[in-house]
């Protein structure tokens, strides 16, 4: 064992150790990777947050909306000849291919979200089912989609897809930021800002906020509640599809039937951390969760700690601020 490891508990295996020099050495690379993951979490978290805001429903099947997007990316790109090796295509061909994959993934996820709403949730709403029933249905829908994919594709992950070779763009304190990290962070943040403005400024966005605040009054005021609900699911799906492309870009071998599950839980946690129902909260929560998990993993010296640290911090934050960092209301938020 390295001498730099300081034992916290004097157990026989030193099962918890704080490796501070390693964190110091890897701080910036952990930061950029953490932000990259955080951006992906945040895009998926928006889907949870918007649906929660409008329906007070935790849509646990959103992780499957996301994984369907991943499969769309996989099938599009592998049919275009992408594989584990770096593609030998010129720049514009790659841009076109990735744009096509992005569009198809967004469409596939949006269609999944739409069908989910129509098949699983709308019948319950029409019968005025209690909220618990929605929750159980959501979990059931999640398992159904997950195991349909399992039956179709089997338990093994799909072949890795390399979209392009990440190249160094600039370096910060000796740590190289590569094009892949930059693409994901910047594109995701632009998308989130766009959604934020859409919710706060557009007519549909006003409708979404009105329904979130008081569905009955909103209906009386002429807002078409059903249409707003459908729109909300579709927006969540579109964002999950975009997240799917970035996810496969970051983790080329991550397309697997169960691949959405952990990411979905993380994204949901990100939404809660920032304040569920709050669009900016999802962004903040996602980025924070990505960073915290990555720092924790390096500090404790083992990738198995990522989730432990992320969720311990989540619990601590919720103990102090049960409504999340930015508070919970989509309806009242100015965002």
């Amino acid at each position: 064992m390295l001498p730099s490891l300081v034992p916290l508990l004097p157990t026989e295996n030193d099962w918890i150790t704080f490796d501070i020099p390693s964190l110091a050495q890897n701080f910036w690379s952990a930061t950029f990777d953490g932000l990259t993951f955080g951006a992906i979490y945040a895009l998926v978290a928006l889907g949870y947050t918007l649906v929660y805001g409008v329906l007070n429903l935790i849509n646990f099947a959103h992780s499957e909306v996301f994984i369907v997007g991943c499969y769309a990316v996989f099938f599009t790109l592998s049919s275009l000849g992408f594989g584990p090796s770096v593609p030998r295509l010129d720049i514009w061909a790659i841009i076109l291919n990735l744009l096509l994959a992005l569009v198809l993934a967004m469409v596939a996820s949006a269609v999944t979200a739409f069908l989910l709403e129509r098949i699983a949730y709308k019948p319950l709403r029409q019968r005025n089912a209690p909220r618990l029933v929605f929750l159980i249905t959501a979990i059931g829908a999640s398992f159904t989609i997950q195991y349909l994919i399992y039956l179709w594709r089997g338990p093994s992950p799909e072949l890795a897809l390399t979209m392009f070779r990440p190249t160094p763009i600039f370096d910060v304190f000796g740590t190289i930021v590569d094009s892949q990290q930059l693409v994901i962070i910047i594109a995701a943040v632009i998308m989130m800002v766009g959604i934020d403005r859409f919710i706060s400024k557009s007519r549909t966005g006003r409708g979404i906020r009105a329904v979130a605040q008081d569905p009955d009054t909103a209906t009386l005021m002429g807002v078409n509640k059903e249409r707003i609900i459908i729109t909300t699911f579709i927006i969540g799906g579109l964002l999950a599809g975009a997240a799917a492309l970035f996810y496969v870009m970051k983790i080329p071998s991550g397309v697997q039937y169960s691949g959405g599950f952990v990411l979905g839980i993380k994204a949901f946690a990100a939404a809660v951390l920032g304040g569920i129902g709050n669009v900016r909260g999802a962004l903040l929560g996602g980025l924070l969760l990505g960073l915290i998990g990555n720092y924790g993993q390096i500090l404790l010296g083992n990738s198995q700690w990522t989730d432990v640290v992320a969720f311990v911090v989540l619990v601590l934050v919720l103990l102090l601020r049960p409504e999340g960092i930015l508070g919970t209301s989509l309806g009242r938020s100015k965002a």
């Binding site: 295509l89 720049i91 992950p157 190249t167 910047i186 766009g194 071998s253």
Partner: protein
Amino acid sequence: MYRKKVLTSLAAAATFSMLLSACANQAGPSNTESSGSSNKVNIPAISKVDVPADAVMPAGDGKATCPATTTLAYAGAQTGPNAQLGVNIFNGIQLAIDQHNKANPGCQVQFKKFDTEGDPNKATGPVTQLVSEPDILGVIGLPFSGESKATGNIFEQKGLVHITPSATNPGLTGNGWTTFFRGLGNDAVQGPAAAKFLTGKLGAKKVYLVQDDSDYGIGLGTSTSAGLGSALAGTEKVTTGQKDFSAVISKIMNAKADAVFYAGYYAEGAPFDQQLVGKGFTGTFVAPDGVKDDQFIKQAGDASSNAYFTCPCIPGELIPNFASAYKDIAKGAEPGTYSIEGYDAATVLLSGIDAGKQSRADLLSWVKSYDKAGLSKHYKWDAKGELQAPTVYGYKVENGKIVPVGPIGE
């Protein structure tokens, strides 16, 4: 109107990201080629191995008789993330049994397969079912260390002899089992050989050791790090099923390691090497028998060209008779890792059946006192079930194929 704006900004975001990726890609290929061969030692491939002249073959003398119910079984992965390692083995067994049955009309041995998915948690079910079938006299398996550990007691209780063609965790023979035999060298042999290979023939100065959380990975990691001594730049753990290795990779890059040793299986090893090379790692990637499979090359793509393997297995593809017979049975596939070990293990059991050892107890004592050459090496076990003279081979990836570079660690 605002909706339009949103769509525009989404489109702008997408286009921007694609542009960046494009720049990235443009600079890519030149990078790979320059770093690929310059600082790497090239060890030439070998083209033949010596076969013991007196090797026992499954056909025997052709005069054997046995009841029609006589059965040998394979227990191990047929599906699951590391399925290919199991497929290599049971094709080797199938070949031995086919050759035996063809030569011995009076003794038609049945062959049954039990799927464990290579998972210790799933293995106990099929193995419990297997030991309760009285017609099964001997077993080839289980291939992986974790599942072998989980099921050894079940075999022991029923006195059913089993020869693992590939499980290499040294601890397995320390459980006091009398029915467990290992048909190859363990990791107490492979680890030090790998360390010697890294610092010797490959000339590595700073080796980063990455191990998974399986019994196999932990055992091999420990025995390799002991052998590396001061060349060890750091140790990192990954989890079975892990997909993202960015934190591990930044540590390796920051430590400026010139070689990585990955103790684990190809399911994680392939994406790990792929992401490692993707992040600009130009050193050598060395991995043990659990990674040495064509699936690794398929899943890691071009990145796999930096890989070397260590394996206590013999390159069966260099034994012409074996290789061509294997191809017929495996639908044209070349013998893989442990195909020949599976074949040899089946031969040991078949020769016992031919010699009239047709109960579980008789076959067990037959294996205990066995002392003959197989196609790959000499088979004679000590009291714990370890082979007495194991060999470790080095392999490398050349033009998208795994080729042997000769014995290492000697």
